[in-house]
Amino acid sequence: MSRKQLAFSTILIVILAFLPLVLKRDNIINLALLVLLYVSLASSWNILGGYAGQANLGHAAFFGVGTLATRLLWLSGWNLFPSLLAGGLLAVAFALLIGIPAFRLRGVYFAIGTLALAQILYITVGNTLPMISSLPAQNLATYQLVPRYYIFLGLALLTIGTAYFLVNSRLGLGIMAVREEEDAAESLGVSALQHKLLALSVSAFFAGLTGGAFAFYHVGYYPQLPFSPEWTFDSMMMAYIGGAGTIVGPIIGAVFFVVVREFLVLKLAEMHLIVFGVLFILVVLFLPGGLVGAWGQVQKALARRSRQKEIKLSLTRAS
Amino acid sequence: MLKIEEVDAYYGDLQALWGISMQVNEGELVALIGPNGAGKTTTLRVITGLLKPASGNIHFYGHNLDKVAAHKIVELGISQVPEGGKIFTGMSVLENLELGAFVASARKVKDQSLRWVYEIFPRLEERKNQRAGTLSGGERQMLAIGRALMSKPRLLLLDEPSFGLAPLLVEQIFAMITEINRQGVTVLLVEQNVRAALELAHRAYVIENGRIVGQGTGDALLSFDSVRSAYLA
């Protein structure tokens, strides 16, 4: 990371850290919290989908499993952090259930396996827990928004931080090598299976933690909701529009998503999913680097333009 | 009829062919020999359009082949028997042959072509309704060649027809190839089995590491010392 980037990130983190202390308005804190949730979700999807190149069509399963485990444990008396951890680990377990057999083979297995898993959970949870899960009275009484905000902030930082360190490590290099040319990587001694499973585990773990935070945050929700395919789609859409396979991409994607959605919901109710869907498809087909990639291209074009101007100037001066 | 001039070809960033130049005249049986990985199959792929050359020209009766789409090559009169035959194993022998005559011009004379192929390969007629996957190695190769002949090609490209076959079968296949050539089909034969190829061919080119390193008549090359020591030991 360059010094400029480090400075910028630090300032951003400080702003976010002090946000609830300065702006005491609940709706702003809620909005920021939502963005942070999406940052975690998109970033976790990105680790597997963007960096490891494995399309995960069932990310909602990991998210949902986290919500389920954490909600149940926390409401039955466990402390928060063990509950969150349990959510994350349970998500990893489900992920490996599909990942271990599916990753041995090439092709679509993993994607449809996770898709099927998410649907199984969605239907089963919907049938076995159809009632709203509400916080019991004593939790309601002690409910505070601000600590929850910090949980999400911490989680987002943890997810991004882990992604950053993973990507810049040897393991990260291996993961990306497997994405690009699995055969070549294998011949160099990089175990495709292990690296894919690693990316999967990290991805599922953070999705599960985010789910746990979700369960801690919401006063009342239908247990089936987090398993809905919309969560999967939103995650991959944010990662791609922002820039799949980059650290910053999911962050930008999450902000973009929340901001544009608020705007669209005002003007064109219900169209926002169609708009995002079309945008997503366009990005996958034409702009795989997302906004981050586009920005990079713009910078390069500008740099080229200024260099050409310099060359022209020096030529005219010479003559 | 076929002229390859200074062709370079790449697989991605990896250069596979350097300045390949070759010529095949009408009626000839030309062999392209060389060790494994020398670029023999690559050269064929460039001719049939499965791989586009980075530079150079390929002329066939005046047509510029490097500008022609892969599936149109057959219409021009070039037919290839790919490495391993690549027959459609789930389909019957007859269906495989019918597909060989897929192009409109060949479809019209399908029955005639079929009779011709059955003449050369009577075994195929015997097994015409069998699933191609149940054929033996030698029969598969015959089917692959027969299928290629169904389009009534002017130029037949053969990629290692002897591969994986027992010596007796190899002799048979090569005898059939000679016969096909005698009947007027020009042949470009890519082979690792150098002796057999050179005995058959009118002329031959030697390719190594993506470059043509020698050429001459079949007999001349057979007696050439370096060829003997490298390939005929």
Binding site: A55, P101, G107, Q119, P229, M271, I281 | L50, V74, V103
Partner: protein, 293 residues
């Protein structure tokens, strides 16, 4: 008594025919192009709505709407292929798989929400004069509409089978499935074969959708379920033959019914998916019949 069970199984067979039909469309496209079109169910859904609206607005008998629905879906398939999937044909294997899944997933969400926007989330169903008619054999009731659907599904698949086995184009398609390079050497234009298979797949989805709208009901969110049904049937025994896929569709239908009868409705909803995951976990080579799918 035995009767409720047999009744249940009869219903299972009838719906299984449609599962088989959905599966054939999906596997046709997958076999030829190696794209797994996860928006297949949405195409089916659109087929259902096409029939519904032609029936509702123009009063055409729903089985006759098959014609218009097929044409509609052929067009949609053509447009979607040219617009989206044609671009991805030339990509390298792993990126191609990844991107086609993503685009398909995105497409399914767009189509789903488009339908929601256009036609609301209400469940629709086609009711005609003969909708309630039933004929009874040995005490088991067979709704005429659903039996007709089974027959139509069967006929459609037989026609497809004939096309694939008797026509040159059909053989070209099968050849492409086996070995696209060899097919190219025969003069077969792979791009056109891909297009044809995709469009045919869409048409098959349309037929299935029409039959679903007549015998059952349709709603904008039904797509994913049907895509998964098709996937499950595909997976139950490899790519196989068309008729084989049809039979496996029947098997899935019957399995679901039996599960619902002996266990509960919840289990019935997920039994197929659970089977799918189990096959994936324990015998992944059983999926699609080949190791590489």
């Amino acid at each position: 008594m035995l009767e409720p069970l047999v009744q249940n199984l009869a219903f299972g067979v009838l719906v299984g025919a449609l599962y088989g039909l959905a599966a054939v469309g999906l596997s046709l496209v997958f076999g030829v192009t190696k794209f797994l079109n996860v928006a297949h169910g949405e195409l089916l859904m659109f087929g259902g709505y096409a029939s519904f609206w032609v029936f509702t607005l123009l009063g055409v008998d729903p089985f006759l709407t098959l014609a218009s629905t097929i044409i509609f879906l052929l067009l949609i398939g053509l447009i979607l292929y040219k617009l989206l999937f044609a671009r991805m044909v030339k990509l390298t294997e792993s990126i191609k798989i990844q991107n086609t899944l993503l685009v398909g997933f995105g497409l399914s969400l767009v189509l789903q929400n488009l339908a929601l926007r256009l036609w609301t989330a209400d469940t629709r169903s086609i009711t005609t004069l003969y909708s309630g008619s039933v004929f009874t054999i040995l005490g088991v009731r067979f709704p005429i509409v659903r039996v007709a659907s089974l027959v139509i599904a069967l006929v459609t698949l037989l026609a497809l089978d004939l096309f694939l086995r008797r026509t040159y184009t059909g053989k070209a398609l099968r050849a492409t499935v086996e070995n696209w390079e060899a097919a190219t050497l025969m003069g077969i234009d792979i791009q056109r074969v891909y297009l044809l298979s995709f469009v045919l797949g869409a048409a098959l989805a349309g037929v299935a959708g029409c039959l679903v709208s007549v015998g059952y009901s349709i709603e904008p969110v039904m797509g994913l379920n049907w895509t998964l049904k098709g996937l499950i049937v595909m997976v139950l025994g490899g790519l196989g033959s068309i008729m084989g896929t049809f039979v496996r569709g029947l098997i899935l239908g019957v399995t679901e019914s039996a599960t619902g009868f002996f266990l509960s409705l919840t289990y019935r909803e997920v039994v197929g998916l659970v089977l799918f995951v189990l096959i994936l976990v324990f015998r992944p080579q059983g999926l699609f019949g080949t190791k590489e799918g």
